[in-house]
Amino acid sequence: METSARIKSILETVMDPEIPTISLVDLGIVTKIESRASQHAYVQLTPTFSGCPALRVMEDLVRTALTDAGFQEIEVETSFETQWNTNLITEKGRAALLKHGLAPPVKHEGYIELDVLSDTPCPLCGSRNTTLQSPFGPTLCRSLHYCNNCRNGFEGFKPI
């Protein structure tokens, strides 16, 4: 148990390669941590999006961080066993997204319609008077918005 906690604290320092303010733990993609000996680490990750190209990079980042911390037997696996959704992003993670200039995803009950995205609060001025421009943004996890109050375009982390 102690080793698992140590692994988790190491993963809290591994940042998302596309959004460097949020850790993999706060992103909610670390779905299992196990250790059967002090030098052994098993980490299971779940993809944010099936087509996310950052996935292999994340696996490598986890391996490197654990190697640097002295682990000798490291297993990193990606699995769909737990399906990621944006409700799994922690409060700390939501603050980290905002820090990167991304509107955190609207919390949902599993039912998403475009209306849910249309009043995304602006990460720059906080206004809710915003318009969804497109649910597809520069990466699979982002949507494009416009703030009618401060008149800036901004990106949101889209709810899924």
Binding site: P47, F49, F80, P135, G137, L144, I160
Partner: protein
């Protein structure tokens, strides 16, 4: 229940149908990158391409676990007659109305197929189906908003969309070409079967299209072939282009 050899064969055939549809349509969608009529649409089709190719990879990986070759070999070394995709996804992108209508027909079927598969008894497929569902939702929302918008755009936009609906509808019905294993898939709880899926699809798309003001040629006869490896003249050139870089050095590490 115990799976027999026929159940596994049926399951593999089902996985190939879905994975090949996603790979081929994903490739077609990517052809809009840099050409979309407005920037947001360029990005939308590129994003959907990325989703689809990523989803096809997850399905090819399941096939690999069932004893098929690895995903790269399966995706890049087969010829057209070995692909199980429906013919509709292999047509060139055409004009934007054609690509939008194909996107609408295909993604509603895809959403309903994976919705049904969230209840399959085959667990690896059940897990990815649950994952894909959330991603596909954005594809159907995108398709619906454009089908609706262009029905109310100009006289020309409505005529063009209606023509594409008429042209593509028989091909869309071809998505539901029965396999040789319908009975095995249904009795084992692996899949609800193509006939049931087609009915769900009709119950979804026909009322939507009519509510936007289009007419639906529901008496059209389906155009089959793709699921059994019979393809149009368009698939092999697509594969030649898609695999061009791979074929330069098939053993290269990426």
């Amino acid at each position: 229940m115990e799976f027999t050899e026929k159940h596994v064969e049926g399951l593999k055939d089902l996985l190939y149908r879905m994975a090949d549809d996603l790979l081929i349509l994903g490739h077609r969608n990517s052809e809009w990158t840099g050409l979309g009529p407005i920037l947001e649409e360029d990005i939308a089709f590129s994003s959907m391409a990325q989703d689809k190719v990523g989803q096809s990879l997850a399905l090819y990986e399941i096939l690999h676990e069932l004893g098929e070759s690895d995903p790269d070999t399966v995706a890049f070394t087969r010829n057209d007659f070995q692909f199980h995709n429906c013919q509709m996804v292999e047509f060139p992108i055409g004009e934007y109305d054609f690509s939008l209508v194909r996107h609408f027909f295909y993604d509603h079927a895809d959403a309903l197929r994976f919705e049904a598969l969230t209840e399959t008894v085959f667990e690896p497929l059940q897990m990815v189906a649950k994952k894909f569902k959330g991603e596909i939702k954005y594809h159907t929302m995108h398709a619906n908003s454009w089908l609706k918008q262009l029905a109310n755009g100009s006289e020309e936009s409505k005529i063009r969309m209606q023509q594409s609906i008429n042209e593509l509808f028989p091909h869309a019905l071809g998505m539901f070409e029965p396999s040789n294993f319908e009975q095995e898939l249904m009795e084992s709880g692996l899949f609800i079967g193509e006939a049931a899926l087609q009915q769900r699809w009709l119950d979804t798309v026909v009322p939507l299209l009519e509510s936007y003001g289009y007419t639906v040629p529901t008496d059209a006869a389906p155009l089959f072939g793709g699921r059994k490896g019979v393809h149009t003249e368009y698939l092999q050139p697509l594969l030649d282009e898609m695999t061009e870089v791979f074929r330069i050095d098939p053993s290269a590490e990426w």
